[in-house]
Symmetry: C2
Subunit: 419 residues, 2 copies
């Protein structure tokens, strides 16, 4: 890393940093191609960033940018006034439309940053039904994303409710400013030549994934407070990290920020106890202090100190919702972990700690995974589900060992850091 790119440009105005975030999102994150259509989703609170991304996308040659805005207030109105029998309904026509757009070559950008506890006070039974309906309706579009058929990325905007959740003791304006600064820093947008910095960071993640791929561990063993978990890895698994060549020819970095290397666990080979180390914000509900026991890959006991009902409904979504679809390693010294902040947003918190995901596996994390049938994927251990939900199990008190097929053990992480 050169001295020039290490420099944070503290003299940049807020508007300049926001514009740089939009520029890296489009050009480094999304890798938008000239003539490509862009489908963006955002809450109304993210309008300023959505407009700058729209501008950057057109400057990069987008043929058309369509933003689907969601209004959190309107979502709440459904819970206040909607009839009970309506909660199994989702806007399938809209998700089908998105899938059609992706099949026809559109890229996908999501702006994260909604209120992490928007639905915390709503009836968990209704929340669960609504979430399940959305998961089901979104599945065809999501498959094109998880298979990396298209270029996509997720980037974050500060919003008042999120800022208040992260900085509960600060006045609203100050909380927003602090959250924006944290986003700019984690997203490498407040530096000289952010595109070059992202290329460098991306190369580092690829080197780490290559190293793990050479090791070919059969499983990982996580040990820490409340955690003694063996995660078998899928046959012919591939570790991935940073950017990826999408099926449509574009190169994208799907998450901004990203600090993780990750692969596909074996859906039938997960054993033991695991405890979450950060709260999970799941579709508007905060789920805290999750404690789960796996047996033959499947959750046989699950409990959360807060949001337990939503957790139970989540793992009841389908058979695959009780099994793992991803395991991910992040050093505790990652810039996001170093910030010391709890973001209550997966995009950030998952890049501050090792984590696992319940639900759908990425076929791209298997050798030649994109050309395998559902049966072939399953026979290698790749899980299948409507959901894909990350939660954090890493901290500076977690050790990770790699276990070879022959049973030999080697340290991978100690006290949350790479060995």
């Amino acid at each position: 890393m050169s001295a020039t790119t290490q420099l944070t440009e503290t003299s940049l105005s807020f508007e300049q940093k926001l514009d740089r975030l939009a520029a890296v999102a489009v050009n480094a994150g999304l890798g938008l191609q000239r003539g490509q259509e862009l489908v963006m989703t955002a809450t109304l609170h993210a309008l300023p960033l959505a407009r700058l991304i729209t501008e950057q996308a057109y400057k990069a040659g987008a043929s058309l940018v369509t933003t689907l805005f969601t209004d959190e207030q309107s979502t709440l109105l459904r819970y206040r006034y909607g009839a009970d029998d309506g909660f199994d309904k989702a806007a399938g026509w809209l998700y089908d439309g998105m899938a059609e757009a992706f099949r026809n070559g559109a890229a996908r950008l999501a702006i994260a940053g909604g209120n992490p506890s928007l639905l915390s006070k709503e009836d968990p039974e209704k929340v669960g039904r609504a979430n399940r309906a959305v998961s089901k309706a979104y599945r065809p579009a999501l498959e094109l994303i998880t298979r990396h058929d298209i270029n996509w990325t997720i980037v974050a905007s500060a919003t008042p409710a999120w800022a208040a959740a992260v900085f509960p003791d600060l006045p609203s304006d100050q909380a927003m400013a602090e959250l924006w600064d944290a986003i700019f820093a984690a997203s490498r947008a407040d530096v000289d030549d952010p595109i070059a910095r992202w290329k460098q960071h991306d190369a580092g993640l690829h080197r780490r994934a290559d190293l793990l791929n050479e090791k070919r561990y059969a499983s990982l063993h996580f040990r820490g407070p409340g955690t003694d978990l063996r995660v078998g890895l899928a046959d012919d698994h591939l570790w991935m990290g940073g950017g990826t060549h999408a099926g449509n020819g574009a190169y994208c970095i799907p998450n901004m920020p990203t600090e993780e290397v990750f692969t596909t666990p074996h859906k039938d080979r997960v054993e033991g106890q695991v405890t979450s180390t950060k709260p999970l914000s799941y579709q508007g509900t905060l789920i805290e202090e999750i404690s789960v026991r796996f047996q033959a890959g499947q959750i046989v006991e699950a409990h959360a100190a807060r949001g337990n009902q939503v957790l139970q409904r989540m793992i009841e979504t389908d058979a695959g919702a009780r099994r793992l679809g991803e395991v991910s390693l992040v050093p505790h010294s990652s810039p996001i972990a170093s910030s010391g902040l709890l973001f209550m947003n997966t995009l950030f918190d998952e890049n501050a700690a090792c984590h696992i995901a319940l639900g759908q596996a990425y076929s791209t994390c298997l050798k030649d995974g994109d050309s395998l049938t559902q049966e072939q994927l399953a026979s290698r251990g790749a899980n299948n589900s409507l959901i894909h939900v990350h939660w954090m199990i890493g901290s500076n008190r977690i050790d990770v060992d790699g276990i070879s097929a022959a049973g030999g053990s080697a340290p991978v992480m100690r006290a949350g850091e790479w060995v």
Copy 2:
């Protein structure tokens, strides 16, 4: 009309009037059914009304309300920064999705009120291409609407740019307040029991349409300054006005306000000269002082003092864009005309004056029209096009005669009023 319902409740607060507008839009305009899905479109400026409509829709039993918000600023960014070759692209996937929603039983509500001259300063060639692409992409969804397969309505929200266009000499806040008052009055939302008032008004429009249906005129003859136009009516045409029974079983009043009775002209039997009496706001461009000559149903000369290029591109959309799809009679004493305001918005201005529409005909304005094939519709004289664009030809200086099949003439309107 009873004294009670004639009373305008001047003591209502703005919030109360806005809420009543939302309530009549959902319950009288849309006729939303219990369990029905609702697809709404709105500019971001209409957010307060969109939220109240969402609330009223859920109270009326909507299973799900999805609002597609458009951001006018983002639209402008495309013209500022978008590559030239992108302007033939439309979000077909989104319009296809809407058509899917309608086929699956969703209702449709549009909130009108965008900036009437948003695109006036943009390249008319690009505006024309973009509009044509949208018209083409929207066609499958629009057909379900124009055939009244589904219940739908259009209602208006004041927005800053629209208010400034209508009240250019007033300060912004005052212009918004004046426009809102005009909308509440024209939409019969500021009265005691607005639903009852709408039922009464609706019955009046049906009586007027019934009268014209008894006459069975072969054509109408419009005479006024710059206008001497004979509009042949389609064979087995039906005059309509007010609400309609949609194919999905709901009863809806598709425009709020509505003061017109209208029918389908014969696409090959329009002859003579016609001059617009109000500006037309067509997808962001104001087109003023339109003067057009028809021969054998087709425009053979067209000119506008302002927006002429956009007019020319509009009538070049397809073969049917040069022919009439609707003729509509509105007395000059309608409440909207009486307001003396020029709204620069079709939803309002078309209810202040007699008008014609270029483009697609409504098959519902023909006897058994819904069961006819495209060929049968055409043989009766119904026009076919991607567009359906109203413009005003009525004023207090327009006379209208009805001409019978035998050639006899009878006065229908004199100086803009029903005879």
